[in-house]
Subunit: 147 residues, 2 copies
């Protein structure tokens, strides 16, 4: 069985602490920490505060990305934690944010990325010297480490 490219957590945090949701510096700090806690290697980030309220931000990591969009007026935030490689723990980031955003109700999904409908990584077009089985994972990890 081939390895998937990554895990993508789609999270909805409801009933959050309003003050945090409208602060760009706090949200940036929380997202950077969530990335670190997940074991990610941070490459860069971009955050924006909207008028009259709301924060949007993305942390680009070597292993993909984390994103957040907040709606303080609804005490709600949507978060994506997309990580590749077996050494990361995106759910640790999810739990961290749930606690810090003081979300009393959350809904989350985990989607495996890089798969076909049959659930396998499609490496049929790979032109290198690797089998369609174990070879995929080491290649992905080498790409992740190289910055």
């Amino acid at each position: 069985m081939t390895s998937p490219f990554g895990k993508h957590i789609l999270a909805e945090y409801f009933e959050c602490e309003c003050t945090y949701l409208d602060s760009e510096p706090v949200i940036r700090e929380l997202m950077l920490e969530a990335a670190s806690i997940s074991g990610s290697t941070i490459v860069g980030n971009i955050f924006h505060h909207f008028s009259p309220h709301g924060v949007t931000g993305v942390v680009v990591i070597a292993e993909s990305h984390l994103a957040i969009h907040t709606w303080p007026e609804f005490r709600y935030a949507s978060v994506d934690i997309f990580t590749c490689g077996t050494h990361l723990d995106p759910w640790a980031g999810f739990e961290y944010l749930k606690e810090k955003l003081q979300s009393r109700k959350s809904v989350s999904k985990e989607i495996i990325r890089g798969t076909t409908d049959e659930g396998f990584l499609d490496v049929s077009s790979y032109s290198g010297n690797v089998s369609s089985g174990q070879g995929a994972l080491p290649l992905i990890q080498s790409r992740i480490r190289g910055m």
Copy 2:
């Protein structure tokens, strides 16, 4: 029935044109154009080229974000197109990228964001003067326009 916050398309593009997948300027241009074609308002972007190959990038839009991660060695790219508001067409961006990346096989999912398991936007914690029905959509649109 309340309005969802947004549509999130998760796309897997297989069997793509390798030269494009490893070019940061080309991938950035394609993603900015995909954002425009979807009707988005671009706020900023961040792109990174990895060693030995691969591009990661995010376009932050007023209506959420677009993201891409490429694996040229697999001729594969994962893309997210997350947009809020009823005036956008994220699928137009999906089709544009499929054509430009020359992907011969793609898999995609559309996830509605901002919903509980029952499928409704949870506005029960909103403290403003709005009903839980029609009021949610105008509020979201006013947030989107204010930059």
